[in-house]
Symmetry: C2
Subunit: 154 residues, 2 copies
DNA sequence: GCATCATTGATGATGCGTCAACTACCGGTT
DNA sequence: AACCGGTAGTTGACGCATCATCAATGATGC
């Protein structure tokens, strides 16, 4: 019951396999590293980094747009994070409507322990095994692919 | 409330951003392409490709090991695919215990329409925008990273 | 001043993936 | 035969992501 499709050329197959392999392997290792120090998921980490990047919290919608999430996803995730004491919703200081999201001391502590280790993991897995020239090459190639991706999804 | 961590160097940041961008963007485009022709998810596609790669169906555990899934995940997914008429569980031809999974005619038709388009999408997004030398370079870099990943997860 | 509409955000339903039982069945041992 | 340990696979519960929908709060037109 062979499917008769013209598959990729051997170099193409090998490249695709490698890309898929990285795609499948990276999140697991990063997630484990984050789990080991502070019980954070990758998504928690992303949200906390966005929130702690400025001096104060962020508006709900600004937060959602900086991490490129839909509002509903953000809302659900903030509820779960709030239940775990990582963030809180406050009244908007500008008085208007809209939720203002801030990091609790607990969340701040969590991100401050997690961030250095996470960066170290990224370094170890992706940055360090490549020479500076190779890193630049990887950047160029990924950005080329990214361009196609964005052209595909306007 | 700035988190004071030594982040990546600018080239490192740019590389990491590009890698993450590809990682986040690729599945969406591939999933849409598969959805548009046959209502398959990426996971459906992977299972169907594995099943139609040989002349006959596969043993449950062989299927699980070729696509690198846990048994429970495979079991759940096969149940859902069976409910949609894509695969069936049969008695093992060897007589022993164990489930034998085969593709239904409907599943076969689905994969035969989906596969060429999927390959074309991969080509368009990843293979075509790169020259052969660049493709080889991408392979080498990804495989280097893969090595680190596997060293990290024994 | 109020009716209408868009924005902002929350909620419920559904599907997927993981973990931890749980069942069933085969093989060998006593 | 009865027992037992390991293999094969299923099931249930839970967390997360997405989609559709709902409620409340603006802004705008008349």
């Amino acid at each position: 019951m062979k499917v008769k499709t013209r598959w990729l050329t051997p170099p193409g197959q090998r490249a695709w396999r490698a890309v898929v392999g990285v795609h499948q392997g990276l999140p697991g290792v990063l997630a484990r590293a984050l789990q080991d120090c502070g019980n954070l998921s990758i998504t928690d980490y992303v949200v906390l980094v966005a929130l702690t990047d400025g001096p104060d919290g962020l508006h709900f919608q600004d937060l959602a747009s900086t991490v490129q999430w839909e509002w509903s996803r953000m809302s659900h995730h903030l509820r779960r994070m709030a239940k775990r004491g990582l963030v809180t919703r406050e009244e908007c200081p500008k008085g208007g409507r809209g939720a203002h999201v801030v990091v609790t001391p607990g969340g701040c502590a969590a991100i401050e322990t997690a961030a250095p280790r996470h960066v170290a993991t990224v370094r170890r897995l992706v940055i360090d095994p490549l020479s500076p020239e190779e890193l630049d090459m990887l950047t160029v190639l990924c950005e080329r692919i990214l361009g196609r991706l964005e052209a595909d999804r306007p």
